[in-house]
């Protein structure tokens, strides 16, 4: 299973499934990360975490820990 946290800057991927539960999962979905969405990995923060994604035309920052719950392809 490939997850979002393992992606490198400039990768373009498609969201396959969201794992996890509760507040964090809902928040990630509310921000537009839903099944089938195209995600572009813009960069990783200078200290190695979090990561910056371009999704639905805007920039979203997400921790790797939470990104590991997002299955991509």
């Amino acid at each position: 299973m490939k997850t979002l946290d393992t992606c490198k800057p400039n990768d373009t991927i498609i969201v396959k499934k969201l794992h996890g539960t509760g507040a964090i999962k809902r928040r990630i979905m509310d921000m537009g990360v839903t099944k089938g969405t195209e995600v572009f990995v813009r960069k990783i923060a200078p200290l190695g975490d979090p990561m910056e994604l371009n999704i639905r035309g805007y920039e979203l920052s997400i921790r790797k820990e939470d990104a590991s719950k997002i299955e991509v392809e």
Binding site: I24, R42, G57
Partner: protein, 724 residues
């Protein structure tokens, strides 16, 4: 007739700018009852019959964040006449997601398309209005364009009293219909039905449905989940976004290709660059710090504060007060209350106003232009290890100048837990007013060694880190998981009116506090200092040694016995600690008075160094210094804690925690340090010190409550969790 309009929208959509433009100065700022979420309302400046309620910036109406709960309770319970939904056109997809949820509340919605002027894409407004079943008006909050036609629509729509919702796919609509029939008839049955279907714990609690109804609903939900092979929240979210995608295909002609670099992205490629991000961040912070609190010729904040302290509250006002007192032959006791109590106490606090205003101008600019979100992005990794947020860096840095604006700067932290922890720990950082204390002991005892000041900073920072790690493991903090899923808004020029508004709000709340809490505590302390028993009679005393405060110091000095405050210095040290609550530099002045030094004392109290050296050993001096650096901050900072916590319980927890922490650390340092230096014999308190040390180590390394975070199910988020 009055029209209630609720102003909603995503964070960073220009809602605040629009609110300021619509209401001008006719605003009331407060807090939503019981929570730290800011509440603003105002009337439309061209038509006072329209009351605009500014709701917190939110991305969704889910039950998980404080802001969302506040917003949706207002919309459902207060039932405004119309919703004014601000949509950032440059970020249409995500902004319209909230719109699809607002359409379900059966309250007329008017969509204000903001920032149309900066978007290259062509948008067909008529088509968009048809898709949404709501009027769409183009506005520019920044340039104040389109406001009148927007408000005309708001007024028209408010008369309609109903709103067509956005529709899900067939089977889901059928399920919603079936649930609606089970629910009591209210205005917003559809919204309630949808929330029940979504398994929204708050709404389920509110409705208290019967067992059989609950079973029916679970069956409906499971049927849908099976049909789409996903959980219900994912299905509904996906359908909303699918709808928006179709809408955009129909209404928007895209000019820019996907993921192309915008101007904002280009700025970001430098500002959050892997190598440049940290140096740029340090440079910006250094610049702001220098201008607001440094001691260079450009440091306008410091220049203003020095002037306020030395001239305004040092000479002008006391001088004027003196003439007034002479002219009216005011009773000497009253005169002392006015001069030594009120002017000195309130003046010491108000003197910080120039620094605070300069600082907040800069912080407001950073916030408004979008850099603050990058600060969190850059620093997050470092700070979250201590249970703090990336944005906690700014409060901590500011606190090296003054703790009050530091604590107030914590307001930019969205996550409740991170904000509370930041407020609780910011006071540990040695502020400018604590420097004289360090100077006094460094000079009197430690031969002016610079190591003393350095160690004070190291201990201050260590106190923040240690407290963060210890506290984040407690249930009260771990119980509210704070998702760090944050938008990095596009950079834009800060709006002057936003910057001025937010600077003024913060500055004024500080000034207001000086007039209330600080005034009161100054009077109380003045009373304790000025009255006492002379030859058995209660009287006004000139000599502080006979005052009630000295009496109080003598009777409370035993508390500090375990910290090594023994002998004649014990009560002096105790009194100085109490007066330090007015302002920390008072500690040194108090020693001056208590050691009967007549003249004007220099800042670090050089004149009394020999007297202090006779009373304090190295280890007692260090224990006293540590306690005063870490214990409850001055009244002004306590007031700031109260304001930012907006909750009496948490205010007392913070102050109590600081005192207990300071006491424990001083005790450990005195007892164990003294033992090692052969100054303190092994005694009962050596054991106490060891127990405390083990206790702190245990709290540091124990498995935190947060470990179970992933197991918390949706149901565990009961109402009282967010209320607390």
């Amino acid at each position: 007739m009055e029209i209630k309009a609720a102003l909603t929208g995503n964070p960073n959509c220009g809602k605040t700018t629009l609110f300021n433009a619509l209401t001008g100065s006719k605003q009331r700022v407060g807090n939503w009852p019981g929570v730290t979420v800011e509440k603003k309302e105002g009337t439309y400046k061209n038509d006072p019959s329209i009351l605009i309620q500014d709701l917190p910036g939110i991305y969704s109406l889910s039950p998980y964040s404080l802001e969302e709960v506040v917003a949706r309770s207002y919309l459902v319970q207060e039932h405004p006449d119309v919703i004014l939904d601000v949509v950032d056109t440059s970020n249409l997809e995500r902004n319209l997601y909230l719109t699809t949820q607002l359409l379900e509340l059966d309250i007329p919605v008017v969509v204000g398309l903001n920032m149309m002027d900066i978007v290259e894409d062509k948008i067909d407004l008529k088509k968009l209005a048809r898709w949404l079943n709501a009027p769409v008006v183009e506005v520019s909050a920044l340039k104040k364009q389109g406001l009148e036609s927007l408000m005309k629509q708001v007024k028209n729509e408010s008369a309609k009293k109903e709103q067509k919702p956005f529709l899900f796919s067939r089977s889901i609509e059928d399920a919603i219909g079936s649930i609606q029939r089970l629910l009591p008839e209210t205005k917003q049955t559809r919204w309630y039905a949808l929330k029940v279907l979504e398994n929204d714990s708050r709404i389920l609690e509110e409705l208290s449905l019967s067992k059989t109804d609950q079973q029916k609903i679970t069956k409906l939900r499971e049927a849908i989940e099976n049909e789409f092979d996903d959980d219900i929240e994912s299905i509904l979210t996906a359908q909303r976004y699918d709808f928006i995608e179709k809408l955009i295909q129909d209404c928007v002609k895209r000019k820019r290709t996907k993921h192309a670099m915008s101007v904002s992205d280009r700025i970001d490629s430098i500002v959050t660059n892997r190598f440049l991000a940290l140096p740029i961040f340090v440079l910006i912070m250094y610049g702001i710090y220098t201008i607001a609190m440094g001691s260079t010729p450009f440091s306008i904040g410091t220049i203003g504060t020095d002037w306020a302290n030395d001239v305004l509250f040092g000479e002008t006002i006391p001088g004027m007060m003196g003439s007034v007192i002479q002219y009216f032959h005011i009773n000497p006791i009253l005169a002392s209350l006015l001069k030594d109590g009120i002017v000195a106490g309130v003046g010491a606090t108000l003197g910080f106003v120039p620094q605070i205003l300069v600082l907040f101008v800069f912080l407001s600019i950073l916030e408004d232009c979008g850099y603050m979100a990058r600060v969190a992005f850059i620093m997050d990794r470092l700070f979250r290890k201590f249970g703090l947020s990336g944005k906690s860096f700014i409060p901590l840095l500011v606190a090296t100048g003054c703790g009050v604006p530091g604590i107030m700067a914590s307001r930019t932290i969205e996550q409740d837990r991170d904000r509370k922890l930041t407020i609780m720990t910011t006071g540990f950082i040695p502020c400018g007013a604590k420097m004289p204390i360090i100077g006094l002991f460094a000079g009197a005892i430690f031969g002016n060694s610079s190591l003393v000041a350095t160690s004070a900073f190291v201990i201050g920072i260590a106190a923040v880190v240690v407290s963060g790690i210890m506290l984040k493991k407690f249930k009260a903090f771990a119980g509210e998981p704070a998702p760090f899923v944050m938008e990095l808004p596009a950079y834009h020029f800060p709006s002057l009116s936003n910057v001025l508004h937010s600077t003024w709000e913060r500055g004024f709340s500080f000034i207001k506090r000086a007039g209330t809490l600080i005034l009161l505590s100054s009077i109380v302390l003045w009373f304790l200092q000025s009255f006492g028993f002379v030859n058995g009679a209660f009287a006004f005393v000139d000599d502080n040694n006979n005052s009630l405060l000295a009496l109080l110091g003598r009777s409370l000095a035993w508390i500090f016995y375990p910290l090594g405050w023994v002998g004649d210095m014990a009560w002096k040290a105790t009194v100085a600690t109490f007066t330090g609550l007015i302002a920390k530099e008072e500690v040194v002045n108090t020693f001056g008075v208590l050691y009967n030094f007549g003249g004007e004392l220099s800042e670090a109290g050089n004149e009394i160094w020999t007297l202090v050296a006779a009373d304090f050993s190295a280890i007692t001096a260090y224990s006293f210094m540590l306690f005063n650096l870490l214990c409850a901050p001055c009244f002004a900072a306590m007031g700031a804690i109260k304001r930012e916590m907006n909750n009496a319980k948490w205010t007392w927890i913070s102050i109590g925690y600081m005192c207990v922490f300071a006491y424990s650390i001083s005790l450990i340092v005195y007892q164990l340090g003294g033992l090692l230096l052969h100054e303190v014999p092994f005694n009962f308190f050596t054991v106490v010190a060891l127990v405390l040390l083990v206790g702190i180590l245990y709290l540091l390394f124990r498995k935190g409550y947060s470990e179970d975070k992933s197991n918390i199910s949706v149901k565990d988020f009961s109402l009282n969790k967010v209320r607390s």
